[in-house]
Amino acid sequence: MGNEAKLLETFQKRINAGEKIEPRDWMPERYRRQLIRMMSQHAHSEIVGMLPEGNWITRAPNLRRKMALLAKVQDEAGHGLYLYSATETLGVDRYQLIQDLLEGRAKYSNIFNYPTLTWADVGVIGWFVDGAAIVNQTMLAKTSYGPYARAMIRICKEEAFHKRQGYEICVTLARGTPEQRRMLQDAINRWWWPTLMMFGPPDDQSPNSAELLRWKVKRKTNDELRQHFINITVPQVLALGMTIPDPELRYDEKTGNWLIGPIDWDEFWRVIRGHGPCNRERLRARRKAHEEGAWVREAVQAYARKRQQRAAQPVAAISQE
């Protein structure tokens, strides 16, 4: 057996035994690549995910909602940073990853290419989109790569607030005027299907799944996660007196699953390839924010240089420090 094959065998044994892989451990190049791809996409999603909701901060209906939304959007920025940090342990540079995003080479979650048209969207995003993210991230908290798992544990703890503040907004609207109820139903109708697509293509069309499962990067398949989300969410929708925009939806007594009609995967691929309602707008907003922040980055560098120069002149340094 070649050296590489032996290493691979040991690696797989460690994975099977439930051990975590740490940054300095040997890992197959493909494992590293797959993780960089997944984790950086995840980081980008957190960052781009600030945009649809950030859009509503100034229009939140009262101070309580505004504080909650500000804190949530700030959390998303933090989650992006946890994930860039964890991705850097794989030997990539976060500035390169950010550049890939800004230049349109990197992907992020499709869901953020849809617009937030009304205040109800903010509630439904917290409830559906963060709810779906929790399902996915609870699984990833047990992923085989140590730094990713640790970042996920931190993130999961914080997401619970996101979901509840979203549901609270929806409960308020559901108990409100007929117009508020219509607004909520409309938001549910628009977000339901794109949220289900967040779990990725069906298992028989998911090229990376088998490998990721074997390496325990993922512990469940896309369809398993999607079904779990549907099962917990449908009763929450019904509890508000709202409906799911799916005429084929039915409860299956035998399996205890809520079964859905077909998902429009053409739409999914269309949006991934850049033809969603907001793809261009999101990247434009990211680039603008990055460009407008250039002076801050320059100032920080200038300050660091100045400090270094000062440190090189001991007398001046003493009087300053």
Binding site: E22, R24, G78, L81, R297, Q301, Y303
Partner: protein, 94 residues
């Protein structure tokens, strides 16, 4: 200039008496900035009583391959453990 900011490892203590625990990293040009970023990123919610930031390149660590030879001595010194020493049956609180 984009790649100029140094990488710093962040350690957070959740309350006094507990150890500082590694939580991740931040990019910053100098220590105070690293500390502020670490606060914003890793201490948005309590409880946190103390943060350390350390330049990543200042950490000198064992390699995974060291596991055997480097840590072996610990395995060959059973006399460091209390159960190595025999006590007559029935004797208590020793």
């Amino acid at each position: 200039m984009e790649n100029g900011l140094r990488l710093w490892e962040v350690f957070v203590q959740s309350r006094t008496g507990k150890p500082h625990e590694h939580v991740g990293s931040v990019r910053a040009s100098h220590a105070e900035m690293a500390l502020q970023h670490a606060r914003d990123v890793y201490a948005r919610r309590g409880p946190v009583v103390s943060i350390w930031v350390v330049p990543t390149e200042a950490i000198y660590a064992t390699q995974p391959g060291d596991e055997g030879p480097f840590f072996d001595p610990a395995d060959t010194k059973p006399y460091r453990h209390p159960l190595f020493y025999k006590v007559p049956h029935g004797v208590k609180n020793i």
